[in-house]
Symmetry: C2
Subunit: 436 residues, 2 copies
């Protein structure tokens, strides 16, 4: 079989489980692709080539280990790995070898996954851009903070890679790179062993090139293996488009993507798809999210702030100082508003809706490497803890990918995957149909 690196994670997992392909060959194809493309894309911080090859050979000889048997995986460098340095995008941790894998990494290894290397993260997953380029055009950002994972998957270097989202660090780069990004429900995957930023909303997830891929990844990372068996939709879901209170800054291509999405959504809901106007308490919710994030990050990085102030970038230092200046009283007020918001969205999902479709980003990936783009269209959904999936829909004025996100009610990850697959299948765009 040729072009093994172009198989999606679910295609490859299927072929590996049936022994139709070898883990070693898939790995070598990925390494070959990385060899050709890495100098342009810069997706990787480190590669554990020898360990990965040894593991692939072992897996080819032994029994099928689990859902990820033989799949090469990129791990965002915000995650701890015992056998690869974990620097969290910061010079403070250059050449840092943790003693232990992050829980989700250990679960992926247990499921037969091959940890091929660590992918580029921005500094502590914040907003300062990193070296990675967008594979579709090297002058554009891949988005952040999971920059390397999104780019590596988009560029066929690896079929599956992990991400994390505190504001918009999975959905935004997935949209910019034209891949599927899945941020499951808050708490679905243990965050232990992943650098902590804002504990109330840090969420792990992954990137793939199909809905089945990301289902597989989150199934292994969470231990909820049934997620990998996506069920067909049994009922017509109630769907609405939510442009959110931040709609004024959306660009034309995002409006176009939503228009296409509405069409596909109407096909699966078998009726017209209306617009959801969020209650007024959400008017400033993106700002609430940013304040909570800044306040919690400034506490989470106390050790680094005390001991290595000079090794923190001016951009991050400013964010942390702003966060430290937020009073605990303000933080408590924000948490109370957040509780109300959780209750309000729960009610909406109970009474009115099964699925929300919303922008993933303002528009296509900015044509600059100095920014990772604006996470504003993700902030609220992240703080709400709702499961979200980005799907590629169209392209922008510079030909860069543009996605939308599908959002389900609290804890409804199984339904979200079913709906996303049905949605992807109903899209007329053949590229997007391939994602299903």
């Amino acid at each position: 079989m040729k072009d093994l690196e172009s198989l999606s994670a679910s295609q490859a997992a299927h072929a590996l489980a049936k022994r139709e392909i070898k883990a070693t060959d898939l790995l070598l194809a990925c390494l070959d692709r990385i060899g050709q493309r890495e100098s342009a894309v810069k997706a990787w911080v480190s590669l554990g080539k020898e360990n990965a090859l040894a593991r692939a050979r072992e897996l080819d000889k032994g029994a099928i280990r689990g859902l990820l048997h033989g799949l090469p995986i990129g791990v965002k460098d915000l995650y701890d790995t015992f056998d690869l340095p974990s620097s969290y995008g910061s010079p403070i941790y250059s050449n840092h070898y943790p003693a232990t894998d992050a829980v989700s990494v250990a679960l992926m290894r247990q499921a037969g996954g091959i940890i091929l290397g660590k992918t580029v993260t921005t500094e502590f997953a914040a907003f300062k851009s990193a070296a990675t380029s967008n594979p579709h055009n090297p002058l554009h950002t891949p988005g952040g903070s999971s920059s390397g994972s999104a780019a590596a998957v988009a560029d066929f270097m690896v079929p599956l890679a992990t991400g994390s989202q505190t504001a918009g660090s999975i959905i935004r780069p997935a949209s910019f790179c034209g891949v599927v990004g899945y941020k499951p429900s808050f708490g679905k995957i243990s965050v232990a062993g992943v650098k902590s930023l804002s504990p109330i909303q840090d969420t792990l997830g992954c990137f793939g090139r199909s809905i089945g891929d990301v289902a597989l990844g989150v199934a292994a990372m969470s231990g909820d293996h049934a997620l990998a068996r996506i069920e067909d939709l049994h009922n017509k879901p109630r769907i609405a488009i939510c442009k959110t209170p931040d709609w004024a800054i959306a660009q034309k291509e995002t409006a176009a993507a939503l228009a296409v999405a509405r069409f596909a959504a109407e096909a699966i809901s078998k009726g017209s798809v209306g617009d959801l106007k969020l209650p007024t308490l959400f008017d400033q919710y993106s700002q609430t999210q940013a304040r909570i994030m800044a306040a919690e990050m400034s506490r989470s990085l106390t050790f680094e702030r005390l001991r290595f102030p000079k090794k923190i970038s001016p951009q991050l230092a400013k964010q942390l100082n702003d966060g430290a200046a937020i009073s605990y009283e303000q933080y408590t007020k924000d948490l109370l508003l957040n509780q109300e918001a959780h209750a309000a969205i729960q009610l909406i999902f109970c009474k009115e809706l099964d699925l929300i479709i919303a922008p993933s980003a303002i528009g296509e990936a900015p044509g600059s490497k100095e920014t990772t783009g604006d996470p504003i269209f993700c902030r609220g959904w992240t703080l709400l803890g709702l499961p979200c999936i980005n799907l590629n829909i169209t392209s922008g004025p510079n030909g860069m990918p543009v996605g939308v996100q599908l959002i389900a009610g609290p804890g409804k990850d199984h339904f979200l995957l079913s709906a996303a697959r049905a949605f992807a299948r109903s899209l007329s765009d053949p590229v997007t149909r391939d994602q299903a």
Copy 2:
């Protein structure tokens, strides 16, 4: 001033802030006490004597740093510390030096605390007993898993020490050792950098010898500094005793403690204190907690289970295997029941009550070092995420301390501290009154 080691944390903090005592002298007094007693109590895994002395001298010279200025603190060895080994009670991590402090440790240092050493935890904070003795009688357990912290504070080795609770690991040892133990609301203190067991309920807290002490500790660990200024009760709180569905196994001394507690509660509520019977959905809630904990722990310790199976004790291995055998379907059912339980308890606190008083443990500390006692009377409150404080009330048939726990509604930590101080003051027992 003599006997500095017998000052409570809040007394010492007050004297240190006024420069009435020196951090160096307090530290030397604590080290002296440890020197006399450690061979009998075995509360410590490691001591950072030189670093602590250097830090104390620096603090005595410089400005007042914060709430914990100059206070020597014991840190449970489940917490990461960059300058002291962190072994989580397991031979897998013997001589392991993390790169970073746990977030809560960094916040304590920022507030001027002196990390004196690491205190004994049971293996991964589970149920296999460790070396520590109960300071009141070396043949009795101090409880677990925060064994060393509870014993060190009870024995005047240190005025303040940290703990963590996933089942009953703060409240139970506090009761067994006759000290104040405070488990704040779930999420109040970042758990980052503390070995993760059951992410849905792992909660950090601390031990002291007065309500003011534990308020000070949690104020610094969380960043909610206003917690350290305990306000007087403004209204008469609505209080009930809750014997819980597990009451059948309570011993006589626990019943006696609740009877005394009812008397004190009536004094502060200015009326009769009734009994709360929990809704039937709580009938098996302790078992639900145990299952969720076992299932999550088996995932959280995947790395250790895969790579170091022989370095896990048979007792813990059994618990982890039992946890791994719980289906994700069962786990999901348990999470759903837990959601209902959260809603039910929230309603009770909204409509009927401000404060619950419940047993801290079955009875006094068992007269054995082979067990750490049964956490059953803590399991449910931990999974509910409610703030709890243990206060010493009476003693059992062997003269060992017996406490009760005061429990407030979700997020009501400020109120809990106010109520606990009023409660402690109203107790007729002069020993307990001293805790206020």
